[in-house]
């Protein structure tokens, strides 16, 4: 019902147009009938009108002949017969003219009301003139011997009226002829108009119909294109899964890409999955799909159990990096409340998974190098012990920091800075002593800290890897502690400066080797029977940083030195001396490129920390002070010895803690000397 109305609705215009066309055609046909009838009638009236004139003349002539024959006593039968004939013919023509058929109807009235009125008027006048004639002629007809007097009277009347009658008949004929031509013209116009209308209507129908057809063709075409388009370009795969577990023929082309191979109609999903995902997952998925085909189960209530909601694709990038992940969604297609099929949508969610796993950042466990640890035992046990105590203390501080930190951006930032300093100090000391495993753990910890330090917006969750990294660092220290405790039973700590300086020399060589530089280490030390604690701390924590700095930043590459007219081998010297007033001075000197105030200014401007004008206004003293700010580094890229912007930063804290003083002396392209002054 609805669709029938709809159909009529859709084709309403067309139906009306065709109906109109038929009506017009029929109208034209009927009108033709009418018109031909009218023309025929007009023709016969024109003839009749002509006859009136003729018979009127004949009658007059016959009467005159009769009168003459009566006067001459001749036989009168012939003329009497002529009179009778003309009289009868006249009346017949008059009757013909008086016939009103086809002249009183609406169409005739509408076509030629005035003309018809004129016609009737003329006819009436003819009758008026004819009536007396008729009255005089009729008595003459039946008699064998009409009275001469009667004939004379009739002759007189007929002759007198004949002229007028002929005149009137003439008028009528003319009128009828003119009117017939006019009517025929009007009829023709109407016919032409109707035919034109029908033609227009026909054209309208053709236009309308063709347009509707073309439009529907186009819509169908577009719809078709769209479907093709959608199925071809959909990034997500789409297919119908039949109850027998086979993949239906309706599916998107992208499925082939997603699955990494062409999919066949009728292929079983379980086979597809077996090749695509881990066997465990495939098994769970088979269970899941089976459940979805159970009529009692509603897909919506099982969404949370979909094992394919985010599944790794097998056999690609086994390193876990470029592994693709797909997400399958299932919808039940029900017929009569029975699950007939499943509509399955497949998305590639690799990108989302990758982003998440990057955040999670599963860390590779560091190799534990017990052998190296054991080799470390040839170091001075006193130094190892001191290192362990200070490192353990720092770990404890760091963990307490993690435990107590308030969840605020500023608190996080401050904590990250502290963690960085502690870690860097541990790394420096560990490297000095040659504890590679500890140094590597500390370096890894720093790697974790770097992105957090740059990020202005840290969340508590991001600190989780730090706890794990800290635990790793702690584990290495515990290992070292275990070995040390055992070893310390049969080792005696050495005294004095020598062991410390030997460690520093070892560090210098190590850093120089790593950075491919030629460096000679020199040590000049005053004789000190006991090592004051403040000096020991400086030598353990500060000097390694300064030496590292001297080699990494101060000493140039061999080629650069030669170009500058210096010996290829650079020099790094550590001096320990007693100064007046119980002051101990430790200095680290190198004959490298010195610190250039202008290049510091440039670096400040390049990093966007200062404008050109501000940088230009800064004094050398202020510029050098920047070296001790957290995060400031003069090396272009980070390596284990430079570039993190930590180091001098540690120094500043240490100097503050010990109440020491720090001096810098430098000449570009000549030397740099850092001197630490501390009370003995």
């Amino acid at each position: 019902m609805n669709s029938a109305t709809g159909l009529l609705g859709k084709y309403r215009d067309l139906v009306i147009a065709i109906a109109l066309f038929l009506v017009l055609d029929l109208g034209v046909l009927l009108f033709n009938f009418y018109a031909s009838g009218r023309i025929e009638a007009d023709t016969s009236k024109i003839n009749a009108s002509g006859e009136l004139r003729m018979y009127s003349q004949q009658l007059a002539k016959a009467l005159l002949t009769l009168a003459q024959e009566l006067r001459d006593g001749m036989p009168i039968q012939t003329s009497q017969a002529q009179i009778s004939e003309s009289h009868a013919n006249f009346r017949k023509a008059l009757a013909e003219l008086a016939r009103r058929d086809g002249r009183d109807d609406a169409i005739a009235q509408w076509l030629s009301r005035e003309a018809l009125a004129n016609e009737a008027d003329l006819l009436r006048r003819i009758e008026t003139y004819w009536q007396p004639l008729d009255g005089t002629v009729v008595p003459l007809l039946g008699k064998e011997n009409p009275e001469a007097i009667d004939v004379e009277i009739a002759v007189t009347k007929v002759v007198a009226r004949n002229i007028k009658l002929m005149q009137l008949a003439n008028d009528l004929t003319q009128h009828l002829e003119t009117e017939a031509v006019a009517t025929a013209g009007r009829l023709r116009s109407i016919q032409i108009t109707a035919i034109l209308l029908a033609l227009v209507n026909f054209a309208f129908i053709v236009f309308k119909f063709v347009r509707a057809l073309r439009r529907s063709d186009r819509v169908a075409e577009v719809a078709h294109e769209e479907t093709d388009e959608i199925l071809a370009t959909l990034r997500e795969g789409l297919f119908l899964l039949n109850a027998d577990g086979s993949i239906g023929s309706q599916r998107s082309l992208s499925l082939d890409n997603l699955f990494g191979r062409p999919v066949r109609t009728g292929e079983r999903l379980s086979d597809t999955l077996a090749a695509l995902v881990e066997p465990d997952t495939a098994a769970v998925a088979a269970d899941y799909v089976e459940l979805l085909f159970k009529d009692r189960i509603k897909a919506g209530l099982l969404d949370q159990l979909n094992p394919l909601s985010e599944v790794a694709v097998r056999g690609e990038g086994e390193d876990g990096r470029q592994r693709r992940h797909l997400s399958f969604a299932f919808d039940q297609v029900r017929k009569d409340n029975k699950v007939a099929a499943l509509l399955v949508t497949v998305h590639d969610v690799s990108e989302q998974v990758r982003l998440r796993s990057e955040l999670a950042g599963a860390e590779e466990q560091l190799r534990r190098d017990v052998d190296l640890l054991l080799a470390v035992l040839d170091r001075d046990p006193g130094l190892v012990a001191a290192f362990l105590v200070s490192a353990e203390e720092k770990i404890e501080l760091m963990n307490a920091d993690l435990q107590q930190v308030e969840p605020e951006a500023s608190a996080y930032a401050g904590m990250i800075d502290r963690l960085f300093r502690h870690t860097h100090a541990i790394k420096g000391e560990a490297a000095t002593l040659g504890f590679g495993t500890v140094a590597r753990e500390a370096h890894a910890f720093e790697d974790r800290l770097v992105p957090l330090r740059r990020s202005g917006n840290i969340s508590g969750k991001e600190l989780i890897p730090l706890a794990v990294a800290l635990s790793g660092l702690r584990e290495q220290l515990e290992r070292l502690r275990g070995v040390y405790d055992k070893a310390s039973n049969f080792a005696r700590p050495a005294q004095g400066l020598d062991p410390v300086l030997r460690q520093i020399e070892r560090l210098t060589r190590h850093v120089a080797q790593d950075l491919d530089k030629q460096v000679r280490f020199e040590a000049v030390a005053a004789h000190l029977p006991v090592l004051p604690e403040s000096l020991a701390t400086l030598l353990r924590e500060a000097v390694p940083q300064l030496v590292r700095n001297a080699v990494a930043h101060g000493i140039e590459s061999a080629e650069e030195r030669l170009r500058a007219g210096k010996p290829a081998e650079g020099r790094v010297r550590v001096e320990v001396e007693r100064q007046a007033g119980d002051i101990l001075a430790v200095s680290v000197w190198d004959d490298g490129r010195g610190i250039c105030a202008d290049s510091l200014r440039r670096q400040l401007v390049d990093s966007g920390r200062k404008s050109t004008e501000e940088a230009a206004r800064m004094s050398e003293r202020d510029l050098f002070a920047l070296l001790f700010e957290p995060g400031f580094s003069t090396a272009a890229t980070a390596n284990p010895h430079a570039g993190r912007g930590v180091g001098l930063d540690v120094l500043r804290e240490l100097v503050a803690r010990l109440g020491a003083r720090l001096k810098i002396a430098t000449v570009p392209n000549s030397y740099t000397r850092f001197t630490l002054l501390v009370k003995a």
Binding site: D287, K298, L301, L305, N306, P307
Partner: protein, 122 residues
């Protein structure tokens, strides 16, 4: 009116589900009984023949999976919604296979559970 049996070893969870149903957030449901473990659930179910059941999985005495299997035999018409914190899918699917109809993760919001219960009763 659908009669609901709530099975969960947590008293708080049971009363939360009960309150949600009583609040009218889920129309056409009334609490017919509660049970704190699988054995108790079977016993209560025999007595009250519920139309719907919410079922925890990790429970003492008898766990949810075994309980579902029993209930499916006992009350084949009853609809069972698993409400559990167990999020590994194989276990949950096993439980559903034994005769449950749907699954909702703990923790859930009121809206989540209400929607699941409505769908369960449809």
């Amino acid at each position: 009116m659908n009669r609901l049996l709530i099975v969960d070893d947590s008293l708080v969870m049971r009363s939360r589900i009960a309150r949600l149903c009583a609040s009218g957030a889920v129309g056409g449901i009334e609490i017919a009984g509660q049970a704190a473990n699988g054995l108790e659930a079977i016993e209560v179910a025999r007595r009250i023949t519920p139309d719907c059941v919410t079922m925890d999985l990790t429970m003492p005495e008898m766990d949810g999976e075994a309980c579902i299997a029993e209930l499916a035999g006992l009350l084949p018409e009853a609809r069972i919604l698993v409400v559990s914190a167990l999020s590994d899918k194989a276990t949950a699917l096993r439980a559903i296979k034994k005769g449950a109809h749907g699954f909702v993760h703990k923790p859930f919001s009121d809206a989540q559970l209400a929607a699941a219960l409505k769908e369960l009763m449809q």
